[in-house]
Each structure stands twice: as structure tokens, then as C-alpha cells.
């Protein structure tokens, strides 16, 4: 079984997760191999191409359609689907990621979820006299709140309003997508054949998002950092707001007991744009490898890990959200900290990318070009303007459509 480092010690935690199942299957041995996110993709595609690999594997939600389209994954049968309620226990947006856009068939089960939300400092908002509920109500109120909290001094430390990463980061697209969706735009056209980034709605979102840096509400030095550094800096008390996922909770709890942030934080949904307040929904799925020689056992294990109790157990050791609705509402998860219940509520507005096989190349194109917004908005050469953004997006769309052309 191949997994990603879902916990800080996956080599220990995943076998522990399997222990009850193994006790019921004394004749089965499961060898767990922990890949890493950087090299995992190459290893999995090589396995899919050669048909030599594990019996079952974890796949990022955006990876699954590509590997399925390569013929690397076993399609679930109608009987197997019936055993898991035809996906009804899972978040529908995540269930969508177990399929290939426009094609029949399901290739696995959602295992855990990555849901994004605004993590904010309650003490900073209080000091600036900003009501968080009002602040995250819509884009205008969010903008006004950021202006108000920017530069607030708490315990002698000057706080910058918002942090997001610029070009040197893997999360460029995930960070921007909810703003585009909430403006009524999308990352792809409805038929998933073309990029939709040049739509007026998407451009409006990109302009709004980038303008936060141009106005200095996102300090320009944040734009040269990656998400990991910024999350550490937020936990260290440098910023008022950061958009992040449930893994940040682990980082907060690992900070010193007397930490100001640990005692003064909360989460909120994305501020509503003209078309709602969707958030990015990702995570990982479990699938059976096409070349597996133990498909029955592999399915039994996938089904077990897709069940409520193992999902709750994984969520507790990993801080990633369960992919099952009942598990995400289980008191063991929601009562752990008030924030977990809020994340579950926010997940109701979770939205995943269309599960197209070409998502990987497309995301690389988007990451390359959208990361350049940081060059425009950093203020180095006073280059930021809407026409400059439009030109950048026009280049993005040309390259994205060329990549998508292969798939059509």
C-alpha cells in the first residue's frame, strides 16, 4: 500500500490505523510505503505506465483522474458501489473526484479532505474594533476589515493584515480558485475543454485578490515566501488573517502553550463574493491499482478505510478532515476544538476542481503564470494595472488551452 505523509509519522500511524482490519484478516500482510508529495507523482505514474505497483494506493484528488485515464486504476463494480451506498456517505464534491469528467465509472473512495478557511486572530480583530462576523460577510466588508486591522499593534508587535504566498509556492491556484468561484467565474469552461480565466468574473476576482497586495494589505515580503513559511509566521503572530487548511490546527497546537495565537484564533468561511462563499475542497482518495494481484483484499481494505470509524481515527491523528459527512460530524472530531466543527460547516460549501485527466499539466500552467501576479503586485516597478493583469491572463489562457487541446 502506498500512502502520502498524511501524518507526521505515517510509517507508524497508518499501520496503527490498519490494525483492527488486520486482526480480522489474519492471513493478510500489508506493507505500507510512505511516498512524499514531491516524488510521489513520478513514482505513481511510472507504476501506472508499467502496470507494476502496489495493491492499493492513496492519490491526491487532482491526481486520480489522470491515473485512471492512464488505465492505472481498477474501476469499482456496481456491487462494490452498492456496498458503499453509491457514494452517499461522502461529500458529493469529493465523490466527484473519484471519477473522470464526462465518463462513467468510479475508481476509488474519498479518504480524507483538505478544506480551506480563513484563520484569523481574534485579539487583533478585537483591538482594531472589527466584528469578525461582519468582516467575513462579503468582499467589501473583508476589504474594509483588512484596512482597519492592518498595522494594529498587539503586545508590541505590529500586525500585517493578511498573508498569502506569491510565485514560489505550490498553492497558487488553490489560493485563488475560491475567489474566482465566488465571483461567478471558473477555472475551466463548463465542458472542461478551455480555460475560463479570462472571463470578466474571473478577472474581477484576480484583480480583487491581487489588489490586496498592491494596497499593502498583504505585505510585499509575503509574496516571496511559500505557504509553509507564511503559516509558521502566522502562528508566530505576524499576520491577522491567513487562508489555510485543517493541518494548520496541528501547527497551532504544537506552538508553545503560552503562545498569543494559540489562545486567540478562530476560523471563518471565505468572504462571500457576488456568487457565494465556496471554498477549495481537495484531499486524497484510495484506489485499487490495476495491476494488483490481490484485488479482493485490496477492495476490502479500501472499504474499511473509507468507513466512518477509521476516517475519524485518521482525522484525529492527522488533523485532516474526514471525507465522510458522518465522520466529519462525529463528536470525536467536532468536539476536539470548536474550530473543527466550524471547518465541518465550511466544508458544506467546498468545491473541487473538475476531475479532468489533464488537471496536472493545467495546474502547472496556472501555477507558472498566476504566480507572476506577485511580480506585478509586489510594487517593485509600479507595474500593476488591470491591462497588465489581462495580458498575463491572456498568455495563461493560450498556454492552458494548448495543454487542454491534447485532451480533447
Amino acid at each position: 500500500m502506498w500512502v502520502m505523509p498524511v501524518t507526521t509519522n505515517a510509517q507508524h500511524d497508518v499501520p496503527a490505523l490498519l490494525a483492527p482490519w488486520l486482526a480480522q484478516h489474519p492471513g493478510v500482510t500489508v506493507r505500507v510505503t510512505v511516498l512524499d508529495w514531491e516524488s510521489g507523482w513520478n513514482k505513481i505514474t511510472a507504476a501506472a505506465a508499467s502496470r507494476r505497483g502496489p495493491d492499493l494506493l492513496e492519490l491526491g484528488t487532482t491526481w486520480m483522474p489522470a491515473i485512471a485515464a492512464m488505465g492505472g486504476l481498477e474501476k469499482l463494480s456496481a456491487a462494490q458501489l452498492a456496498e458503499v451506498g453509491n457514494g452517499a456517505p461522502y461529500y458529493p464534491e469529493l465523490w466527484k473526484t473519484t471519477q473522470v469528467f464526462g465518463q462513467p465509472g468510479v475508481y476509488g473512495l474519498p479518504w480524507y479532505a483538505d478544506v480551506r478557511a480563513a484563520f484569523y486572530r481574534t485579539d487583533v480583530f478585537r483591538q482594531a474594533g472589527v466584528d469578525p462576523k461582519q468582516a467575513f460577510a462579503d468582499w467589501d466588508s473583508f476589504h474594509a476589515a483588512l484596512k482597519k486591522i492592518n498595522g494594529t499593534t498587539v503586545a508590541g508587535k505590529r500586525i500585517a493584515a493578511l498573508a498569502y504566498a506569491g510565485k514560489n509556492d505550490w498553492n497558487v491556484v488553490h489560493n485563488l480558485a475560491p475567489w474566482i468561484w465566488n465571483a461567478g467565474g471558473d477555472v475551466l469552461t463548463a465542458d472542461a475543454k478551455h480555460s475560463a480565466l479570462s472571463s470578466p468574473q474571473a478577472l474581477r476576482a484576480i484583480d480583487f485578490y491581487s489588489s490586496l497586495a498592491v494596497e499593502g494589505l498583504v505585505p510585499s515580503n509575503a509574496l516571496e515566501k511559500d505557504s509553509d513559511i507564511l503559516e509558521g509566521a502566522w502562528v508566530g503572530g505576524d499576520y491577522g488573517v491567513i487562508f489555510s487548511g485543517p493541518w494548520l490546527m496541528r501547527r497551532i497546537f504544537e506552538s508553545p502553550a503560552g503562545s498569543v495565537v494559540r489562545a486567540n484564533f478562530d476560523v471563518a468561511p471565505y468572504p462571500a463574493g457576488p456568487h457565494g462563499h465556496a471554498t477549495f475542497f481537495g484531499g486524497s482518495n484510495l484506489a485499487i491499482f490495476k495491476g494488483s494481484r490481490h484485488k479482493a483484499e485490496a477492495w476490502d481494505l479500501v472499504k474499511y478505510l473509507g468507513g466512518k470509524a477509521p476516517q475519524v481515527q485518521l482525522a484525529l491523528v492527522s488533523s485532516m478532515m474526514p471525507a465522510r459527512i458522518d465522520a466529519a460530524n462525529d463528536p470525536a472530531w467536532t468536539s476536539r476544538h470548536p474550530v473543527y466543527a466550524k471547518l465541518t460547516a465550511i466544508a458544506a460549501d467546498g468545491r473541487a476542481y473538475p476531475p479532468i485527466p489533464a488537471w496536472g499539466p493545467l495546474e502547472s500552467v496556472y501555477t507558472k503564470h498566476l504566480g507572476q501576479l506577485a511580480e506585478l503586485s509586489s510594487g517593485i516597478a509600479d507595474k500593476y494595472s488591470l491591462p497588465a493583469v489581462k495580458a498575463l491572463i491572456a498568455d495563461t489562457v493560450v498556454e492552458a488551452d494548448k495543454v487542454l487541446e491534447e485532451a480533447n
Binding site: 514560489n168 511559500d226 499539466p361
Partner: protein, 323 residues
């Protein structure tokens, strides 16, 4: 006549015997190495060349070498099609790679040679100094990229702290990882890592220069500069010529420092930070255009082979020390 006939016959017989005396033993000794060279070099090169003529992408990857044959289409696409995703940004990366290779090579060779000259004399702690100076070179390139990525940070990085807060050389802290300064952000760490090994090589070469030459020059009244130009440089020329060639090859194929400094492989370092290898990796592997990636690799290999051939021809006499 008969004598001549005997002589001819004898000479022919000797040639035959010489042929028969062919000694296979050296070839047997070389065979394992030659076989390994074929396995690890020739086979992948031939396979790569075949790949460069296939439509090998995510939809045909499972067919691998049986993917559709497209002849030279991949080459045309990556070299001349402005809309080809692998071609996108290639001219900028080519410009950066040429400038980067030139600048890094010149700086690394100059610093390496300068420090070697300084170390080529006796002073207390010489061995320790030489060892310490080697430290940058023993740091792996991906660590160099990561470390300098932190050091270049505008507000928290040590570079701006030293330049602005300590030395007061600038009145504001510039960005190094955004904008045109990205070029210097990749050049400086590469030079920092490259010069120590050059220093060591030049130092070894300097120690082989006969001291008598310097003594004779001193007696003739030559000053330090004249001794350097007329004795040291000619003596080191074969080493310098070879090392410059190696440096240029290394720098054209540079990848780790750029990839690690700018998001550990994510995205794009920007107009002034992109080099050919990061571009190739990003826009062939991340875009799943393996056939076109193989085509670019072959173009690069051909260009570098041509460069090596021209270099070797130009400096052959210098390299063999016949000058």
C-alpha cells in the same frame, strides 16, 4: 633478387606474427567498463532519441516506446512554434542561461585562481584555511538553493541585513527573489559553491610549477605581475581551459539551485530567474510532454557537443600542454 624475396617474405611473416600476437587481455579488462558505459549511457541516449520522435504524453505514456511516431514534429514544435507550451519562455531562459553560464564561469574561475595564488605560500593554519574554504563546495546544490532562498528574503534575510543594516551600502532593502534581481540571486550562490573546487584544482596545478622558473624570473628583475603573466598563467593554461569548459557545461545544465530557491520546483522563477533546465523540467515533465522534452534535451545535447568540439579544437594544443 632472392635475397630481396627472402627479405620481403620475412617482413610479411613478421607482420603476420604481429597480427597473431594480438593480446586480448587489455580488452577483457576494459570490457566491463565499456559494457557499463553502453548500458548506462548509450542505451538511454538511443532510447531518448527514439522518444523525441514519439507523441509521448500522458495519454500515450502507457504505450511508452510504442506511442505514435511523429518524426521531427516535436523538434519543430519546441524550436519554432511560438504557441507550443514547451517553447513558451524559451528565448528568455536561453538568454538567462547564456549570461548565467558566462558570469558564473568567469567569476568562479577568477576567484578560484585568486584564492589559489594566495594559498600557494606557507603560512600558519594553511591546511585549516584550505579545508574551511572547501565548505561551500561540499554543500549539495539543492541545500545551497534552499539556504540562499532564506538568505535572500527581503526583510528577514541575512543578505539585506548585512548590506543595509550593517554595512549601510543601500538605503533600502531590495527584493532578490522577485523582479530582475532574481538573476543575481541565482548567479551568486552558484559562484559561491563553484569556486572552492576550482581553487583546489588550481592550487594543485600551481604546486607543480617549478620554483626555479620564478627564481630565474626574479633574478631577471620580473615583478609579481610579470611572473604571473609570463610563468603562472601559461603553466596553468591547460587546467584553466579544461575547467572553463567543465564550468560552462555544468552551468548550462544547472537546475537544483533555481528549482530549490523558487518554491522547490513549484511555478516559475520569473523572467530573469528561469534557466533552460528548470524550464525543460517544468514544461515537459509537469506538462506531461515527454516526447517534446526529449527533443529539447537532444537539441541541448547537440549544442553542447558542438561547443565541446569547437572548444577542444580551439584549445587542443593548450590542453595537451604543447603550446
Amino acid at each position: 633478387m632472392s635475397s630481396l624475396g627472402v627479405t620481403v617474405s620475412t617482413a610479411s611473416g613478421e607482420r603476420t606474427r604481429r597480427r597473431r600476437r594480438f593480446d586480448a587481455f587489455p580488452y577483457l579488462l576494459l570490457a566491463p567498463a565499456a559494457l557499463m558505459m553502453v548500458i548506462v549511457n548509450l542505451v538511454p541516449i538511443v532510447q531518448g532519441f527514439r522518444m523525441s520522435m514519439l507523441k509521448l504524453n500522458q495519454y500515450t505514456l502507457s504505450q511508452f516506446m510504442d506511442a505514435p511516431y511523429v518524426g521531427l514534429r516535436n523538434y519543430r514544435g519546441v524550436l519554432f512554434d511560438a504557441n507550443n507550451p514547451v517553447h513558451s519562455g524559451m528565448l528568455g531562459a536561453l538568454r538567462n542561461t547564456a549570461l548565467y553560464s558566462l558570469l558564473v564561469t568567469v567569476c568562479a574561475v577568477a576567484i578560484g585562481l585568486g584564492v589559489a595564488l594566495l594559498l600557494n605560500r606557507d603560512f600558519p593554519g594553511k591546511a585549516l584555511a584550505r579545508t574551511l574554504l572547501m565548505l561551500p563546495w561540499v554543500v549539495p546544490t539543492y541545500v545551497v538553493g534552499t539556504l540562499w532562498g532564506f538568505m535572500w528574503q527581503r526583510d528577514e534575510g541575512i543578505v539585506n541585513h548585512v548590506l543595509v543594516d550593517v554595512l549601510h551600502l543601500m538605503d533600502h532593502k531590495p527584493f532578490w527573489l522577485i523582479g530582475s534581481n532574481t538573476f543575481f540571486a541565482i548567479v551568486i550562490p552558484t559562484v559561491w559553491r563553484a569556486w572552492p573546487v576550482l581553487m583546489l584544482i588550481f592550487l594543485a596545478a600551481l604546486q607543480a610549477v617549478p620554483e626555479e622558473l620564478y627564481e630565474a624570473a626574479r633574478l631577471d628583475g620580473a615583478n609579481a605581475w610579470q611572473r604571473f603573466v609570463n610563468i603562472t598563467l601559461p603553466a596553468l593554461k591547460p587546467v584553466i581551459v579544461i575547467q572553463v569548459m567543465f564550468q560552462i557545461i555544468d552551468n548550462v545544465y544547472s537546475y537544483n539551485i533555481v528549482a530549490m530557491m523558487f518554491g522547490k520546483g513549484a511555478g516559475y522563477p520569473g523572467e530573469w530567474g528561469d534557466l533552460l533546465m528548470p524550464l525543460l523540467t517544468r514544461q515537459s515533465f509537469s506538462y506531461w510532454r515527454f516526447g517534446e522534452g526529449a527533443a529539447v534535451s537532444f537539441v541541448m545535447m547537440a549544442v553542447m557537443l558542438a561547443f565541446v568540439a569547437v572548444w577542444m579544437k580551439t584549445f587542443r594544443r593548450s590542453m595537451t600542454d604543447e603550446a
